[in-house]
Symmetry: D2
Subunit: 242 residues, 4 copies
């Protein structure tokens, strides 16, 4: 089963209840489910019968943070994340706040400070860091059809001179992650399964600033599900994907 919903992304039924505000109906399945982010859980996914595909915000954020935490470039404390999402990130809900005239010529923050996706983001960051991680996360709605930019601020923990090289090495061979010197743009990943990643060292404030771009409808949703399907079924991982 490839599940695009949020039902099996969390390992803990208690955290599920805290964020989704009702008891999890099948807590015994939570531990079986693989978190469907191939770049971080490829082997698990290959052997899973239940894959819980991550939401769009977690995908862009986790791929941006993972190398820094795993390779010791940044500290797990003090992480701040801003995301900018196109309107399809809200699904296709027919509500006045998503009408054209409400979204066009509008930029706005929402869901601060406790967006539901924060629970899976922190779960995965804690796994990466080997310690409890709590971040500040502010999503914003901007007038795009599709695309998410995530800008991640982390406190430096090492000489960052080769930060870009560390990221390139980390994602070496990954078919859907592109680490580039120039900052990413949603239009460059539109309708593709790519996650574009770049970074800057802010030496004045002693921070690493990582920026990622995905298409929330592809790498952030159905595209990633296809990527997982390919892994589960033993197909070439890139089959059917741009």
């Amino acid at each position: 089963v490839l599940d695009l919903s949020a039902d099996f992304r969390l390992k803990s039924a208690a955290v599920y209840q805290e964020f989704y505000e009702h008891e999890h109906p099948s807590p015994e399945l939570l531990k079986q489910a693989a978190y469907g982010l191939p770049e971080l859980h490829r082997d698990e996914i290959r052997n899973a019968s239940l894959v819980a595909c991550p939401g769009c915000y977690p995908t862009g954020i986790l791929l941006g943070v993972a190398p820094a935490l795993k390779k010791g470039l940044a500290k797990p404390d003090g992480i701040v994340v801003t995301s900018l999402s196109g309107v399809s990130g809200a699904g296709r809900k027919v509500a006045d706040e998503f009408l054209f005239t409400e979204c066009n010529e509008s930029a706005r923050a929402y869901g601060i400070p406790k967006h539901r996706h924060l629970s899976e983001i922190e779960q995965e960051l804690s796994l990466l860091a080997g310690a409890n991680v709590a971040i500040s996360f502010a999503p914003h709605l901007v007038p795009l059809n599709r695309g998410i930019i995530s800008t991640i601020y982390m406190e430096l923990d090492a000489n960052p001179d080769n930060a870009l090289a560390v990221y390139r090495e980390f994602y070496n061979g990954e078919p859907f992650v592109r680490v580039t010197p120039s900052l990413p743009d949603t239009k460059n990943v539109e309708a593709t399964n790519y996650c574009d990643v770049s970074l800057r060292v802010d030496s004045r404030a002693h921070r690493l600033i990582v920026v990622t771009a995905i298409d929330n409808l592809t790498k952030g949703a159905a595209g990633q599900a296809v990527q997982c399907l390919n892994l589960v079924c033993g197909y070439e991982e890139t089959t059917g994907l741009l």
Copy 2:
């Protein structure tokens, strides 16, 4: 003289040279100039013969940070700011990066980590805090004609239960700052001189998150200049402004 350029916003010729990469031609004038943000420097502006009107990013950011620093809600260290700007924030430069087809369906970060406006932002924040302040600042370009959202993350330094009340009290009587419970939206300030401000306490990460919205062409530019003109000339401060 009401100056909309960046030439007289900095007190220090050295900082000017660092950020603008040439020597300041009239350093003796720097100290005479009032920084044209009426909410923070009203009396200075009234008596100034040279008013250096702030840029659009500094306006939205400083009005968001000032109450927290002055009233001890947040620490001067560890401030992170994300801004989202409409395309007119770049002026009317005829360059391929600002063509419709390049900006529409595009969101992107730029100018990280050392945007020129950072120099005046940090100067003013340091004045507010009474200590040197260095922040992380990441501006983003989003497909709006006009409007800027600034989302500011600060470390809490006090019981924040009444943070909104502190902000309301701080801006009590200000004709162009509206402190609201709901998060601001650029479309609500379009073509007006308002700065809308709201905030959320992120108790999990122990931060105060403040969000402001201005129209970069009004409160962030000509509108604020008119507001300063009214002060200098002794007119009603709101004359000619929506």
Copy 3:
């Protein structure tokens, strides 16, 4: 009474029933109502106790056609009209077709061949021409918040060398109609009560092509109602309008 609805725009209860598909409940009031387009019915409006303000399409189309028909530049037969409307032209209806993701990156025709507003357009054109006029009208939805372009094709009936001068003369002294050599643009009338009008002579096909622009929320709606109110109450016609 200033009525922004379509209830009293038609003189004929039978045409009302044909286009709105129910019997008119107060047919006796239809003849009392003035059609609230000041440029064509100023005196009637001044003396009316019921003013039926025209819809947004009729306003832009009638102001474009009137001089040509009244001054004999074009024939009343064979008129074709294309309009392009921003999404607020549909009101603020919460329906999937008006969601941001449905309208952004979308242009589409709708309501062909018998849009409801056609009834009042043809009524007024017939009055101008002194004969029954039937036109072809195709409205289109384009991704703007506000603004309507109407492009009108008419068969030439006279030497058109001075067509622009005829239009200028016709609207001489009108505070809210601007006749210009350059083709109009919705952004030039945004949030104003202006109707911009320009034209081209298509000598190859022997047609006059007139293009008008209005803001459907101002000259096409509330702005025009204020203009009518000023007339009814004897105020300066431009009071309260940009």
Copy 4:
């Protein structure tokens, strides 16, 4: 040679000179070139060594008009065409009129009454009708990245009760033309080589109104060139195309 420029689309060097305002440098090649619209010139293209691929406006307009003229539904006289084009229709010219802030929230007509593409449109329409055809054509710029809507008004010449069936029959088997009851939308053809076509009978004004949608960057440009390439090289006509 597959030529995407306008150099070899016209059969007549005189018409070329009239519309492009300089003498054609190789008039002897004009007659050899096939007009690269496969739905109308498939056999010619297969055998051509020079294929002049049509511009984006001609593609959408000719595919909309052809069945009506060939099958006698409409008269060749009195044709009026409105087109709405996304900004990429202007290429990637770096000019102030194509800046984001100039195009966003803007709709405007341009190039009236004698757009350059009119020459090839009328050449092909005259071939279809077997008589000289002159049309009125008004292109408009709307704030889309890509896509063109063409709305075509023709005088009815026959019982139009089965007009949609006639169109379906005409395009039966065509891989890239979809005739549908519902009116087309640019977003439905985005990034594809499809031309969507629909129509309405305007019995009140005795006209047939046909609406087509293409992506100007695909069916209106490179996609159509690939389709021609496939024909010239004997590949499956749909190879490499969505």
